[in-house]
């Protein structure tokens, strides 16, 4: 799909004529385009640094191609930018790698994250990738809350986690995929054992 024909999702359209601030254009990996205010972008350390480095003028924003975010799909990016627009101007927690002791999930965020688990994990991944500290905090808190009171079997269902057996099988498959000779070597070893050979060599 060309950029011209791509659907444009205005996250905060009503604000455009009022604020004379720049609205940057971003494109998801499935060619969905978004216009996001300069203030909202500040919530994302990664994007903020990027636009600062680009130094676009208002004309550049309109005339140059939308900034491509290759790793995130439109559905996820829409949630990300909705969150950024809602929380624009708010203080950004310092990202010192520590985990905040208390994380409250505001009502807006709770509604925004009322989504299926697959999309929630994509949102977390995007929040980490784009360094949106507070979005990462609330989305991780949501995942942590989902685990409350669940048995290991329930956790497996909710988070699509493997059992010990499945986990082992997946690891074996991955090891074999890494080294196709591994299975042959293993089989040969087994054969030699059956033949009564004590030493592999």
């Amino acid at each position: 799909m060309s950029v011209e024909n791509a659907p444009v999702v205005d996250v905060d359209e009503a604000a455009i004529p009022v604020e004379k601030k720049m609205y940057y254009r971003f494109e998801s990996n499935d060619k969905k385009e978004f216009r996001v205010s300069e203030l909202a972008i500040q919530q994302s350390e990664t994007l903020n640094r990027l636009v600062e480095a680009m130094g676009y003028t208002s004309e550049d924003v309109e005339n140059k191609p939308a900034i491509a975010i290759e790793n995130i799909d439109g559905k996820t990016l829409k949630l990300v930018f909705q969150w950024c627009e809602h929380h624009k101007g708010e203080a950004i927690p310092v990202d010192d790698g520590s985990v905040p002791k208390i994380v409250e999930i505001p009502e807006f965020d709770a509604k925004l994250m009322d989504i299926d688990n697959g999309l929630l994990f994509k949102l977390i991944w995007a929040a980490d990738y784009l360094n949106i500290v507070q979005l990462l905090n609330v989305s991780c808190k949501k995942v942590a809350n989902m685990a409350q009171g669940k048995t290991p079997a329930q956790l497996r269902r909710v988070y699509l986690l493997p059992s010990d057996e499945e986990d082992e099988a997946a690891k074996r498959a991955a090891q074999e995929a890494q080294d196709p000779r591994a299975r042959e070597v293993e089989e040969e070893f087994e054969e030699r054992k059956r033949q009564g050979g004590n030493s592999f060599f």
């Binding site: 130094g55 985990v99 002791k101 409350q148 009171g149 988070y159 986690l161 010990d164 986990d167």
Partner: protein, 367 residues
């Protein structure tokens, strides 16, 4: 030129970020389809540290990948206090956190195996022993602990109707083994335990890190504190943990010969069945010879020939309600005053080192 350099730097940043994420995908747990297992380490840590402790214990039981992740990078649960209560065939673990609501996990045995209760949830582990499950869970909880625990308490409940103590030796032994299997001694600031015998204390105390231990509290497992022989603390007092504790509070009766074992503390409380004036004098000598003791207090059940105390100390300064007698004695080669307080209602005598300005108006200073 500057613009190009900055742009290049950020392009590098993006490439690096992509590399990190790709690495995580390729060499992490991506062989599984579970999105949780494919999360970068920083995200996983955040999710786990924001989870309650029971959830983390359950995550560990889901699969190898999560178990090894949690064991290798233990999340800090910000636990400040752990209390273990042992009642008849039941163990309760109460964890207090600085940032989350308290958690109580109960373990007991039923016909099929072990039952674990947490809030309104109940989980059965078929053919498992409740003491093993408890010890494993506790080991994991303690493994998460990064800062010293402010309080670690162990309480064996006394079944008064049976007029006998339940056999808790198996629990005690498993706890001992679990604590000894740790790579390092458990950092605890305040250790509280009710104990029938010295070996119960010896099963736990040596596994605590003396560097962090400030207080030791040994309580009486019976409500009225009767029918128990004196607690032998001679072995316990040999431990570095004992020697480094600044405050020791013993509510179980000990023999008066144990008095000098408290000379290194800052504050101490002892309990005796029977004392004589000789014991009180030993107490005073221990107190005055100690360079650290600020307050030494004891409780007794019987004071043989109590009148001798008043004969020796002379006239006392009494409170208007007559609830206590006080004597103030100048300490040789010191500016401080020895304050002896006698409270007959609760059968307590206390020695304190106070400043001259703290002596009440009207009180006589002897010596």
């Amino acid at each position: 030129m500057y613009f190009e350099i900055v742009l290049f730097t950020y392009l590098e940043y993006f490439i690096w970020k992509l590399f990190v994420l790709s690495y995580s995908f390729l060499f992490g747990n991506v062989m599984n389809d579970a999105p949780l297992l494919n999360m970068p380490e920083v995200v996983m840590n955040k999710i786990l540290e924001l989870s309650d402790v029971r959830s983390i214990l359950n995550f560990r039981k889901v699969c190898h990948s999560l178990r090894s992740y949690i064991d290798n990078i233990p999340p800090n649960t910000n636990c400040i206090s752990i209390s273990i209560t042992v009642v008849t065939k039941k163990i309760l673990v109460n964890c207090d956190f600085s940032d989350k609501k308290d958690t109580v996990i109960t373990y007991y045995q039923d016909k099929k195996g072990c039952v674990v209760e947490y809030e309104s949830n109940q989980k059965s582990f078929k053919n498992e022993d409740f003491i093993d499950i408890f010890a494993n869970d506790l080991k994991t909880i303690l493994h998460f602990q990064k800062d010293p625990l402010q309080r670690f308490s162990l309480s064996f409940k006394y079944e008064i109707h049976k007029n006998q103590v339940d056999d808790t030796s198996e629990i005690q032994q498993k706890l001992k083994e679990m604590l000894e299997s740790r790579k390092s001694q458990l950092p605890v600031e305040k250790f509280v335990m009710n104990a029938f015998k010295g070996d119960q204390i010896m099963s736990i105390l040596p596994s605590l890190n003396p560097k962090f231990l400030k207080e030791i509290w040994i309580l009486d497992p019976t409500f009225w504190g009767d029918k128990l022989n004196s607690l032998d603390i001679s072995e316990v007092a040999e431990l570095n943990q004992w020697k480094s504790a600044k405050n020791i509070f013993i509510r179980r009766s000990v023999e008066p010969t144990a008095i000098p074992l408290f000379g290194h503390t800052k504050t101490a409380f002892l309990t005796f069945e029977t004392i004589t004036m000789d014991d009180v004098e030993t107490m005073e000598t221990t107190f005055l010879h100690s360079s650290t003791l600020k307050r030494l207090r004891f409780k007794y059940t019987r004071f043989t020939r109590e009148q001798r105390l008043f004969d020796i100390l002379g006239a006392s300064f009494e409170r208007p309600d007559g609830s206590e007698k006080n004597w103030y004695i100048r300490i040789t080669k010191s500016e401080d005053i020895l304050h002896v307080m006698y409270i007959p209602r609760i059968q307590n005598i206390a020695f304190s080192r106070i400043e001259l300005t703290d002596v009440p108006v009207g009180a006589v200073i002897q010596g």
